[in-house]
């Protein structure tokens, strides 16, 4: 498998940022970067990553099935992650998640028909001080209200 020149450059830098004998450390970032370009963690991608890092594919599967941020099916262009863990829950994160479901018309780990949005109920993202928090792709949004969520989604819709 080959990736875009930009991604290849990024991966090369990644592989060189760990001390000798620690190539395995590159596994999680490599999966995330490549998932962004490929769209999801396909079986071919698992093999490619295993080959590049020099480990059996089953060890890549272990990581892919462990982390919820790694998806084996493609998610939407904008992947909306709403935290409902304890701090966010105290600030009505659960209602925020329900609202997001209605707004997008989809549920947990589902994708809108046009492929633009997907939704995921996630555990703590380390943004408790600014609860309730959501994350869209790699961007965090803090103190999110229903109105603010609508705004964020509407502005993303306009982007296309």
């Amino acid at each position: 498998m080959t990736f875009s020149p930009e991604l290849e450059a990024k991966l090369e830098k990644l592989m060189n940022s760990y001390p000798p004998g620690r190539k395995k450390s590159a596994l999680i970032p490599m999966l995330m970067f490549t998932q962004d370009e490929v769209g999801s963690i396909t079986p071919e991608l698992v093999e490619e990553v295993a080959r590049r890092i020099g480990i059996p594919t089953v060890q890549v599967d272990e990581v892919v099935t462990y982390y919820s941020m790694l998806h084996r099916k493609p998610m939407g262009k904008h992947h909306v992650q709403v935290c409902t863990n304890i701090s966010c829950l105290l600030w009505d994160g659960d209602e925020l998640y329900e609202h997001a479901c209605k707004k997008l018309g989809i549920g947990h780990k589902e994708v809108t028909a046009d492929g633009e949005f997907s939704l995921e109920e996630v555990e703590c993202m380390g943004a408790c001080s600014w609860a309730p928090a959501i994350q869209v792709n790699y961007d965090f949004h803090h103190h999110v209200t229903k109105e603010k969520l609508d705004e964020i989604i509407d502005s993303l819709k306009k982007l296309r």
């Binding site: 480990i55 059996p56 089953v58 060890q59 272990e62 099935t65 462990y66």
Partner: protein, 693 residues
Amino acid sequence: MADLVNLTINGRAIQAPAGTLVIDAAKKAGIEIPAFCYYEGYSLQAACRMCLVEVEKMPKLQAACTLPVGEGMVVRTESAPVVKTRKSMLEFLLANHPLDCPVCDKGGECELQDMSFRYGVGESRFTEMKHHVDEKQWSPVVFYDGPRCILCYRCVRVCNEGMGVGALGIINRGEQSLITPNAEDHLDCDECGMCIDICPVGALTSGTYRYRTRPWEMKHVGSICAFCSDGCKTTLGVRGHEIIRGNNRDRSGINGEFLCMKGRYAFDFIEHPARLTSPLMKVNGKFEEVSWSKALEAAAKKFAEVKSRGGKFGIAGSTKTTNEENFYLQKFAREGLGTNNIDHHRSGDVVALVDALDGRADALAAMADVYTMTASLVIGSDLAQEHPLIAFQLRANNRHHHGNTYAVTKGPVREDKYAAASVRCEEGKELEAVEGLREQLSKEKELLVVFGDAIKGEAVGKLVAFGDSLGIPVKYICLVDYSNSRGAMDMGLLPDLGPGYVPVDNPGMTLPEMMAARDLDVLWVVGANPLARHELGSSGAFVVAQEMFLTETAKRADIVLPASAAYEKSGTVTNVTGECQKLHAAGRTMGTKPDLEILGLIAKGMGLNLGIWSSSNVFEEIRKSVRGYNIPLPIIATGQAAQTNPLSGRVRVTPRPDLIQSAGNTLFTSGSLGRYSKKLTSVLEHPGQLYRP
């Protein structure tokens, strides 16, 4: 030696070398700390929390399996908080566990049962539905029952680190976690069963043994694997006269708990439906079943008649029969029939090595050296396929002692992954490739040289000269194929050498010469299959075959005498590193006889006096008369390996590298014998496509 650290465990003052784990220090002092995931020899996991102990001045309970001892440490392993936590840990482990002990294979041998019995509460606060997944078959030998799994990672580590295969992993997380095989729904692996063996519970079970018996219904017979020359000890689980399990859980013997698929599962050849159970004689070109007395009498009569008219015998011995049988056979040939026309299929040039080492002590390696020597050079063998135990010990050496391995082979080998250097070379160019490693090798403190049939004849001498020129201590292993290939040579199944590599006066015919001879009167084959490789030149030759199956050779025979298998007799065998070990009969097949008895009865029929044909008697004769075999009886009697040493000066015979060829067996083949193990052939019949629904 590392500095000693003083600590207290349960009020007892203890000393342990710095770096020792608390769990090991306690064990040494006779204090048991319960553990599931901790397993000596493999990486630390700290997954099960069974080993939690209280350590003064540490705020929380500590995992004794990852905590090194510290000066002044005060540890308590049976205090109230520890006992309470242990009970909770067991309660957690049983939360989703099906508790189907009454039908579980592991019942009676299960570590979870034992721990629950000893440390558990006996009741659970969990009232939720148990999480269930169905049992899966991953290969002919490996089955996985997820709900029983306690996620200790032992199987994952033994496959990864011990086997160097890495076929198992853990997917998902939390209570959804499951062990998974490497090829989606099945395993593409060595099928060694090490994962099953090491599993503390009944989550991994074997296709051979599962649901066939309760462990306490078996008697356990320690014997030696019947396949390759590495000489693994195997404990056979026997019910009645049936062998239903092979493992080495007591870790006795040169292999510890290692066994490859052949040693662990391939004993099923003894009950193959094609097994011969009655003597056969050819009448008008067709086999007829006859009684033992009739068949033996006919053989003895024929031998006596050919002997009396000075006819020509050719005798092919076996690489799988015992030392006693081999010794008796050569004695029969030389003293009884007056011929040196005796040979066997040679797979490595041990003769040339014995010659080249010229009697120097300590130059032949023992199996233990593979694990301990600081550097090894492997030439011309794919060890993971052909010599699984040696490969396993080399990996362990690398993990535990950082031993350097150098591989000079035709194609890629498993050793490449951790080798200090891997060199690919064409066949016949090995010595040049080795020369290329000179600089690196001479920097080593010592070297173990393991070579296959690529190095034979003169090349062996050159290799030893190279070893000498390095200026470091060098030991050698000359690889041979089968369980007693080495013993066949040591016992003198050779036309030019008697027992102990002593040259004979009138060298006889080699195996190919016997096969090609147009005037051979009798071809006597004991546990070998020369007709699989050679044509029989003498069309009129009378052929007597002692065999377990109707092989190519047995089919051509005039008399076929059904022989017992290695698992059905007593005697000794000598492994690739010259270690002599004792067989113990575990099973029995009605109608067969051990080869030694067959030899004795034919001798008796001919009126020859070759001595009593009991294995202990013949072994005594071997100890007294064969060079290097004066080994201590207690070692042999207690099931340990006794080192033989045949070295004593040059062996002046004409080198015959042309006669040496290894069968190049894989993990799932073993010459003619392998074809009769359904377990082995089932792996080959479904390569990579096992058990799809």
